[in-house]
């Protein structure tokens, strides 16, 4: 039987790269989708608003695991074969989009109403108001919860191992299957996740403090 040594640890470390890559892709695509849904959610057009709230509500009310299964097993049964990495990226992007849409909607709404009025009274269009007045302020407000959500995303990438994609989690499981030294292995895996997530958590909290401080002045 194999034991848990340096080659195995190295394999686990390298796979953490895939976790980061997956996080980056899901965050990038999810941001674009999420931004669109946030704006739709605040649109003056009722059906757009409803569609966006429906989407957000549904995605936030089902397990990420189900989104993943639907896009992997479900679509393959319909004859659409997604490679594991694509299925993982697609389902995580969908997950990200719903949560970011909600966070960003909240941020946009917390920009004071008077800012809209002031901008409108200066003859700006809606797009101009968003671009020059609302979004610059909303982005600042949204920074702490967005970074906080990034932590959730990193952790949730761990479930994509189920479709066979070798990320940090899957690497740990593979080594475990070969060595049966689960305690050491998952301690290492957990420590790597922690090393990624903890600084992000601190950053989020720091940003929040900075924001609160600047708001009270």
């Amino acid at each position: 039987m194999q034991t848990f040594g340096w080659p195995e640890a190295l394999f686990i470390f390298r796979s953490a790269g895939w976790t980061l890559a997956l996080t980056a892709i899901a965050f990038f695509i999810g941001s674009i989708l999420g931004g669109a849904f946030a704006i739709m959610r605040l649109s003056r057009v009722r059906w757009l608003r409803r569609f966006a709230s429906g989407y957000i509500l549904v995605i936030q009310s089902i397990p990420v695991l189900m989104v993943l299964f639907m896009s992997y097993y479900g679509l393959s049964a319909l004859g659409i074969e997604l490679p594991p990495f694509l299925a993982a990226s697609a389902s995580l992007s969908i997950y990200v989009s719903a949560y970011l849409a909600e966070i960003w909607r909240g941020s946009i709404e917390s920009v004071p109403r008077q800012q809209w009025e002031a901008s409108a009274s200066l003859a700006h269009t809606t797009a101009q108001t968003y671009r020059y007045v609302i979004l610059p302020q909303a982005v600042r407000i949204s920074l702490p919860p967005t970074v906080g959500f990034l932590v959730q995303l990193v952790k949730n990438t761990s479930i994509v191992q189920v479709v066979g994609f070798v990320d940090l989690m899957r690497a740990g499981m593979l080594v475990n299957n070969a060595t049966y030294q689960a305690f050491q292995i998952f301690t290492l895996v957990g420590a790597i996740y922690f090393a990624i997530c903890f600084p992000l958590s601190r950053l989020s909290r720091h940003l929040e403090k900075v924001m609160n401080a600047s708001r009270s002045h």
Binding site: L57, V58, Q60, S61, I62, P63, V64, L65, M66, F69, M70, Y73, G74, L75, S76, A77, L78, Y99, E102, I103, G106, P145, G148, F149, V151, Q152, K155, N156, S158, I159, V162, M169, G172, M173, N176, Q181, A182, F183, F186, T187, V189, G190, Y193, F194, C197, F198, S201
Partner: protein, 230 residues
């Protein structure tokens, strides 16, 4: 699409639903008790207890639930503690939820003004009585919406327990899929059930919040917080 094959397995599905609800209920209850105890420990005991609680909360919040579950299910036997899938799931969910709930309740406790505590002390209450009646009750009322979101997220995260062969709803889905080869239909059905469960739980928690904290429903809405996924 053929849903009949999937729906004909309804007794299995029902059992999965039952297990998901039971798991969530037990973990939420135990987790909340643990979180309250940790909050009390942090507020009343010396600073070392506070550090221990803080470290625990950070550790749990910055590692994936799946790692925690595997640590308990695969790792603990190495230390001579052997739990079956269900026990490991309940333990992992409880420990995970407790960390998040502690963090949320702390925010509520921090929002209670010092003068409230003084008023309680001036009325001859003991430290414990102040904590219970003056601090924790309104703190819970204030953070109930955030706690509710966290409970819903925990229920959804219970799907991950299928990885240690617990036959809750998503574990059931995997079996039905293998039996029927109807992957898409299976996952649609199960996803819709999760949706219904999550929305019902949300409504129930809302109702419970109004029942438990009639006065602060308006106040609580102001401090609406985003829950975080496990």
């Amino acid at each position: 699409m053929l849903f009949q094959d999937v729906l004909s397995k309804w007794p299995m599905i029902l059992h999965g639903v039952w297990l998901t609800i039971a798991l969530s209920f037990v973990a939420i209850t135990l987790g909340l008790v643990l979180a309250t105890a940790m909050t009390a420990l942090r507020s009343l005991a010396g600073s070392w207890a506070g550090y221990v609680v803080d470290a625990y909360v950070e550790l749990m919040r910055n590692t994936p639930f799946l790692v925690q579950l595997f640590m308990i299910f695969f790792g603990l036997p190495q230390l001579g503690i052997r739990l079956n899938g269900l026990e490991a799931s309940i333990l992992a969910m409880t420990l995970n939820l407790a960390a998040y709930a502690t963090e949320i309740i702390r925010a509520g406790v921090d929002s209670i003004h010092r003068s409230q505590i003084e008023a309680g002390l001036a009325l001859a209450m003991s430290k414990w009585q102040v904590l219970k009646h003056v601090v924790l009750q309104p703190a819970f009322a204030r953070v109930w919406p955030a706690l509710s979101s966290q409970f819903v997220l925990m229920m959804l995260a219970s799907s991950i327990c299928s990885f240690v062969s617990v036959q809750e709803l998503s574990g059931t889905a995997a079996i039905i899929e293998q039996d029927t080869f109807r992957s898409f239909e299976t996952y649609i059905v199960v996803t819709v059930i999760y949706l219904v469960l999550a929305l019902s739980l949300k409504l129930f928690l809302n109702w419970l919040g109004h029942k438990l904290f009639p006065q602060v429903s308006g106040l609580a809405r102001l401090t609406e917080a985003h829950g975080e996924a496990a």
